[in-house]
């Protein structure tokens, strides 16, 4: 079979927080720009823009990835979850509740990425130790809190998530 012809426009269909979106884009469009600028989902942040800080973390088919280092076209066909998808029916996700109750944020810039890394962590390990939490969020930089309260916030969320909620991808 002949290989596909290299294209300068590509079609992308993704499900974001349960809603399907299709767009024709340039292949160089980064997933984070697609989410923020095409879909207006600005909860996903751009921090360092050099694949270091994790502020742009989203879940792609349940895997936590840096959306600034992924082309939108690479996400074609996948299901994406952003921070906007965590709240359900006006109810904060237990992890969001944890960040609120345990003062897990100051400026809040890293928080969306932290929440999604934490969600992926709890899906793989419903009751992580402090060390496992710290290791799990080591790709997400916070310059305010020093992580102590972030760890507490994730422990709070872990304690309140039933096992079913922890593994399920909310739609």
């Amino acid at each position: 079979m002949n290989p596909p012809v290299p294209a300068d426009r590509v079609s992308v269909t993704v499900t974001v927080n349960g809603e399907s979106h299709t767009a024709e884009v340039e292949p160089r469009l980064l997933l984070v720009h697609f989410l923020r600028e095409d879909l207006n989902l600005t909860g996903t942040h751009i921090g360092c823009d050099t694949s270091n800080c994790g502020a742009c973390t989203v879940l792609v088919d349940g895997t936590a990835l840096k959306s600034c280092t992924l082309l939108a076209v690479q996400a074609d066909g996948s299901s994406i979850e952003t921070v906007e998808g965590l709240e359900q029916n006006g109810q904060l996700h237990p992890l969001q509740e944890g960040f609120l109750q345990e003062h897990g944020l100051q400026c809040g810039f890293c928080t969306p990425g932290m929440l999604l890394s934490a969600k992926a962590l709890l899906a793989a390990n419903a009751s992580p130790s402090e060390e496992e939490i710290r290791r799990g969020i080591s790709g997400n930089l916070c310059r305010c809190t020093g992580y102590v309260n972030i760890v507490k916030a994730i422990q709070y969320g872990a304690a309140r998530l039933s096992p079913a909620e922890a593994v399920g991808v909310s739609q």
Binding site: P3, P6, S51, C68, L70, L71
Partner: protein
Amino acid sequence: MIPAAFKYAAPTTVQQAVELLSNNQDAKVLAGGHSLVPLMKLRLATPPVLVDINRIPDLNYIREDSQLAKLRIGALARHNDFEQSALIRDRYPLLWDTARGIGDPLVRNRGTMAGAVAHGDPAADWSAALLALDGEVVATGPSGTRVVPLTELYVAILTTSLQPNELITEVRVPLPAPRSGGAYEKLERKVGDYAVVGVAAQVVLADGGSIAHAGIGLCNAASTSVKARQAEAFLVGKAAAPDNVNEAARLAMEASDPIEDDRGPVDYKRAMVRELTRRALARALERARGGAA
């Protein structure tokens, strides 16, 4: 930051990928993309065509092949797949150590071993580990496949002996010998940073307890990944004793040729190669003896 415009193709077979590389000058392979995409955003790389191999099925595997006597790693095996693999944890402690120290969890979810190896960055942890393990890559091109030992892969910084229309489809490592063990020691300023330097060590013990074989690879210690051959040769036939480990560490330091940069001056880096070699060999020997180090 936004990459320069390029054309994109996502082949579904290795053959298609090779054809695309042959027909499009300066095309680059996109695997995990965690070296390539940042370089493109910085406009340090401006490939006119990207060949995304992520849609090729059956390239993500890590399995032992007893006929070949090799561990076979597919081109799309991601760093995290090693971290999650009981086979790697139990039988390839050097690869296990290395995987857990690469980048951060988000990077490890996406980046691939084969991509890191093909990128040819002397700061690649995997390349040091694979040099210590006497690894090789399978390069697939228009006329089929050829096997390239890691020792013949690195020509200069970010430059390999691969042809522009060749794709690494597999990485191979010999099956572990009885009484073998390995360890990786990485010094980093902060989580997720490149190594200041890193040292990979793999040893095999003879029945009497002396060292039958040693492999030592250095990360970020010269303009290419380094195999510390003199240090390796020195250890063969020697007792697994601190004096011999120290001498091998000195020889490994002699094999290093780091540059001064924001991770430290030359003398410091050389001293760290020596110390990390000592530590890596000590842990590798402990593991070869059956310890849990």
